[in-house]
């Protein structure tokens, strides 16, 4: 049973704000939410992590619903360089179990000029 569910694809125009959703209905209290992205011919790149509420960094912001069953990655003002596959990962941080990342299918973001 997949831990996370994301839309398989999204499209946006340059300059738009993009919101990528991720459902994790069975998230446990010890689990955190991570977002990575992968552009072609490169390995995944860490974007942001969170446990609850709202987190922001220089790249993106992450909103987590009050029940923690849904998270939304927000990318402001996307450019062509933001075209990538975005992965939402939920992992247990207790007893170092969180070290192993389990990737789902991700969301392929296409950015049009």
């Amino acid at each position: 049973l997949a831990k996370t569910t994301q839309p398989p694809s999204m499209e946006a125009y340059e300059g738009q704000e993009v919101n990528v959703s991720c459902s994790h209905t069975n998230i446990a209290t010890s689990e955190y939410i991570y977002w990575y992205r992968q552009v072609p011919h490169q390995g995944p790149q860490f974007i942001i992590q969170g446990y609850k509420d709202y987190v922001v960094n220089e790249v993106a912001s992450l909103f987590i619903s009050a029940d923690r069953k849904l998270s939304t990655l927000s990318l402001p003002w996307v450019s062509l360089r933001d075209a990538a596959v975005y992965y939402c990962i939920v992992t247990d941080m207790s007893n170092n179990a969180g070290a192993k990342l389990t990737f789902g299918g991700g969301t392929r973001l296409t950015v049009r000029p």
């Binding site: 490169q42 390995g43 995944p44 790149q45 860490f46 192993k100 389990t102 991700g106």
Partner: protein
């Protein structure tokens, strides 16, 4: 900071041959991870070292695959008697923390088994 270095970037082997993939983690990082990526299976965890000690190899195929980390500056993934289904991009990642919260990935080695 050169990031995680993986060599070779591309490797072609014949069926039944051995393949050794190399990974140089970011200096100072204590955890090293290996993943495999294919179109069909996506990104899969293979194995994980912390301070050079093997911690979790639950994703490693039981036969033909082995990983080592002889020193803190490199790790190897060896595949014996390669098969066409081993064709994939093999990704190495390292993290500063023991628990690998933020992992830095290398560009991968694309292995093609003919």
């Amino acid at each position: 900071n050169a990031g995680v270095i993986q060599t070779p970037r591309h490797k072609v082997t014949g069926k039944g041959q051995e393949a050794t993939l190399w990974c140089e983690p970011i200096s100072g990082h204590s955890a090293v991870f290996w993943y495999r990526q294919t179109i069909v299976q996506g990104l899969e965890f293979l194995t994980y070292f912390r301070n050079q000690a093997p911690i979790d190899d639950s994703g490693m195929p039981k036969e033909r695959f082995s990983a080592q980390m002889p020193n803190q500056s490199h790790s190897t993934l060896k595949i014996q008697s390669t098969q066409p289904q081993d064709s994939a991009v093999y990704l190495c990642a390292s993290s500063l923390e023991d628990w690998g919260v933020e992992q830095y990935f290398g560009p991968g080695t694309r292995l093609t088994v003919l």
